[in-house]
Symmetry: C2
Subunit: 271 residues, 2 copies
C-alpha cells in the first residue's frame, strides 16, 4: 500500500516521522477519515470542511490549499487502485524545535486501507455508558487516551463500544455519534459538545417516513426511556444498538424506525 | 547528539517512528524527564518510579526491566558526554495493527539535550489561571493539547505560564507544580488530581527554618490571600511567581520564605 507523507507518495512500510514531531512529543494533531465506495470518495467535501475546521480550531497551519489536498488524495487513490477503502488524513504539530510549541510547518500524512462497511442489517451492538467529556469537542484531535484506556473495561463489561455522557448529558461514542428513538418515534441525537459527524449530518437531512429527526439536549433519563438506538459513523453508516448498560432495548433486535432509516441511508449512499 | 530508539543508539537526525505508532495515530503514550548535573542523573530512582507508574496506569507494557533501562540511560550518557542536560524517556502505544488498540510491544525512545537550570534567584515569572483538569492526573501522559493550544492566549495575557484550577480548586502548571505561602508562613502545595512532581516531593521533605511545608486542598481564595508563590520542576527547581492574573504578590520580587527555600534546595541538589 502507498501513502503520502508531506507531498511524497511512498510505500507504507517506509513511512515515518522524526521523533521531534509534536504528535510523538505531546500528542498534538488532528485527522479526518473518509471512505471510498467503488473507488470514489464519499462526502469528500464534508470531510475536507471538517479537516480544515479541526486544524483551525487547534491552530495548526495547513500548507496545502483545499484544491491541492484534493489533488493529493486523488493521486493516492489512483496509485493504490482500491475499490472500497478508508482514507485517513492526519495533520500533526510538526517538527517542533523546542518539543512544545507548534512548528511553523505541520506534517501531513494520507493513508489508505482496504475497508468495506458492514451492510448486514441484522447486526447490532451493545454499549456501556461512561462519564467523560472529550477535550476540544468540536475538533477531531488525536486525543483518544480515554477510549483506548477503556478497552479492557469494555471487554470486561461484555460491551462493544462506549457511550460518553458528561454528568448525565448524553454525548457520543469515541468514534461515532449516538441517536435514540423516543416514545413519540422522534429520532434524536445530542446537540452540543460533540464531534459533528459527517454521517450524522446526512442522517439529519433524511426525510424517512414522517419521522421527526433532530438534534436535542439528551440525558441519561432519555436513554432509559428510549425504544430504539443506533450509532452512526463513516465506517459503520447506521449500526443498531440493542443493549445499553445491560438493559435490552425493545425486543433486543434492530427496531422498525432504525430499519427504515438504514434502508433509506443505504440507498442514499450506495444508490 | 545520540538518542536511543528501542535499544539502538543512533544519531538524533535519523531517529524516527513508523506512522502506525499509536502516538501519531491517537496521541497515546507517556514519558518522564530528568536532568543531569556534572554528568550525573539527579533523582534518577524517583523518575524511574514515576515512569513505570505512568506506564502501568496507562496499561503500556515496558519490555525493559528497571536495571536494563538504567543501563540504557547510562550508555546514552556515556556516548553523549554532556555535563548538564535533560534526559527524556518516552514510551508510546507501539505499532498498533488496527491503529487503535495498544500494540503488544511499545516503542521506547530516550533523548538527551544540553540544558542547564536557571540558578539566578532574582528571576521570577507571572502566571495566568485557567479552568482545566488534566486527564489521568497522576500519569505523565503525552496529552498537552490544552497547554499547547493556550500558548497564544498566554502571550496575549503577558503571562509566562498557566496555573490550572478545576472549578476553583488549584491544581498545577502544565509542566510544573505550584506552591503558595499563606499568611501564617505555611508553604502549601495542592494535594490531589495533579502530577506528583519529583522536585515537589523533595521540597516537601525540606526542613527549611521552622516553616510548615505540606500538601493541602487549595482554592482560588487561598491564591488571592497568598503572600508568596513559586513553581517547581525538574527544569526549574524553584522559580518564584510574583504576579498571578495581574495581581502582584508581596512587593513584586521573590519573597523571603521562597528565597530561604531556594537557597536550601540549591544546596540540596548542587551540594
Amino acid at each position: 500500500m502507498y501513502v503520502l507523507v508531506n507531498d511524497s507518495i511512498i510505500s507504507q512500510e517506509e513511512a515515518t516521522l522524526k521523533i521531534t514531531d509534536l504528535s510523538i512529543q505531546r500528542g498534538y494533531g488532528i485527522f479526518d477519515f473518509l471512505k471510498t465506495v467503488a473507488g470514489k470518495p464519499v462526502f469528500l467535501e464534508d470531510h475536507l470542511d471538517r479537516f480544515y475546521s479541526s486544524a483551525e480550531q487547534m491552530r495548526l497551519p495547513v500548507k496545502l490549499s483545499r484544491n491541492d489536498l484534493t489533488a493529493q488524495i486523488t493521486a493516492l487513490l489512483d496509485k493504490n487502485k482500491l475499490s472500497d477503502s478508508g482514507v485517513r488524513i492526519t495533520l500533526t504539530g510538526g517538527y517542533s524545535p523546542d518539543g512544545f510549541n507548534i512548528a511553523s510547518s505541520s506534517n501531513i500524512i494520507i493513508t489508505q486501507q482496504e475497508f468495506e462497511v458492514n451492510r448486514d442489517f441484522e447486526k447490532s451492538i451493545h454499549l456501556m455508558t461512561y462519564d467523560y467529556q472529550r477535550q476540544f469537542a468540536l475538533a477531531k484531535t488525536l486525543d483518544y487516551l480515554k477510549a483506548i484506556w477503556l478497552q479492557p473495561v469494555l471487554k470486561e463489561a461484555g460491551a462493544d463500544d462506549i457511550l460518553y455522557h458528561d454528568n448525565g448529558m448524553l454525548r457520543e461514542c469515541p468514534r461515532a455519534n449516538f441517536f435514540l428513538i423516543n416514545e413519540k418515534d422522534e429520532i434524536l441525537t445530542s446537540k452540543t459538545n460533540i464531534l459533528k459527524g459527517v454521517t450524522r449530518k446526512h442522517i439529519l437531512q433524511l426525510k424517512t417516513g414522517n419521522f421527526k429527526i433532530e438534534e436535542r439536549e439528551l440525558t441519561m433519563d432519555d436513554l432509559r426511556h428510549a425504544k430504539e438506538a443506533f450509532i452512526s459513523s463513516t465506517t459503520k453508516n447506521i449500526l443498531p444498538v440493542t443493549k445499553v448498560d445491560g438493559r435490552v432495548l425493545g425486543d433486543g433486535t434492530p427496531g422498525p424506525v432504525t430499519r427504515a432509516l438504514m434502508a433509506e441511508f443505504d440507498q442514499y449512499v450506495y444508490g
